[in-house]
Symmetry: C2
Subunit: 220 residues, 2 copies
């Protein structure tokens, strides 16, 4: 029974995926070398070719693993029994939580877009469209039917605007720090949570009916 040393519970394969996720995210596909990944994972670089056909296959498997995680996490905020406005607020918070706990995700997604026009991630994005994005659009439609949200916004566009705030903040984080007047690279942790709260509020305000008769609890 081939058992790795007690120190690493994770299989070598998982270690390789972990290391490649980090390196591909921070350096990009082309700049990351097989040898670097092996070094980071603590295995010999030739071993990568035992588990994965080539560099590209390794990349795809890594990406798929990560996005699956995000989808299951994001759906958790949509599948709850709460009114649409609360669910939307919860979704934005949850999006922020995930993105800032997994900074690799926005980086990798963005690289996909710019490097290949999303070609390598098409299947995954389609999955995303059918689950999380569709759920968010439905939520907005539901709020519109309930007169909680204004009806003169296209739900899909409103969904993109909602998502975009936290997504952009995460992607452009280094620039955001500078824009907000901080020293390079060091954005206080409170700013991040503050912005998540702001983003939820901003989206809800934009969606609120022009005549603000509708119920706005939030008496905290």
């Amino acid at each position: 029974m081939p058992r790795p040393p007690a120190s690493d519970t994770a299989s070598r394969r998982e270690l390789i995926l972990d290391a490649s996720e980090h390196l591909f995210a921070t350096q990009g596909f082309a700049s990351t070398t097989i040898k670097q990944i092996g070094e980071h994972a603590g295995v010999n670089s030739a071993l990568l070719y035992y588990y994965f056909a080539d560099k590209d296959t390794l990349y795809r498997e890594m990406l798929q693993r990560l996005i699956r995680q995000m989808i299951s996490f994001g759906m958790g905020a949509l599948d709850v029994a709460e009114p649409p406005d609360q669910r939307l607020e919860g979704f934005v918070r949850r999006q922020a939580g995930f993105v800032f706990e997994h900074p690799n995700l926005p980086k990798l997604m963005v690289r996909e877009m710019t490097d290949h026009e999303g070609a390598r991630a098409e299947a995954i994005i389609t999955e995303l469209a059918a689950t999380m994005f569709r759920g968010l659009c439905e939520l907005i439609r539901e709020g519109q039917r309930a007169k909680l949200f204004r009806a003169d916004l296209r739900p899909e566009f409103a969904a993109i605007s909602t998502i975009s705030q936290v997504a952009y903040f995460a992607i452009a984080r280094p620039a955001v720090g500078i824009l907000l007047g901080h020293k390079r690279g060091h954005l206080p942790a409170t700013t991040v949570t503050d912005f998540a709260e702001h983003a939820a509020k901003f989206a809800l305000a934009a969606l609120a009916p022009a005549r603000s008769g509708a119920s706005r609890r939030k008496a905290s």
Copy 2:
């Protein structure tokens, strides 16, 4: 495709910058080779080393040229004699116009963020912060003082939320196409302009006072 043989007007140097802008934006720094740039520019690749010290210097000069263009363009929407809400709407439209006419810009900015945490673009982003971003924040503050905008949003955060919509749409364009249910890569041109209009409306709705009636806000 290579440019036509050196038309007298554009210097070889400019041709090289043009080609590198396109290639760095679409392929990234590491994946773009000196030889490709030379080919695209219609000059011999060794000539790049006559005009630029090395690949990195070429990259920086290219980036600086592009961002200067954007700043001067963006400021045009802020320096007009109109009420804040109209100026904000104009700004978003102009941002969209520039970004979709210069698709290289969002790609390069995003690469900067992910590749080097913005390190190579720090000076330029600082410039951006001091001009365009500051202008946008001022605009929002002015609207707040004039009671046109709600006062319980941090101007800097509201500015980021405003910018983020179009920026994210441009960055994630391939994914956005899929999310909206189109065939891969082919987002109708009308969708782009429609979204720009939506983004301006969304931001103005979010900034609109909750209800001008005398309801006093709780201090939070």
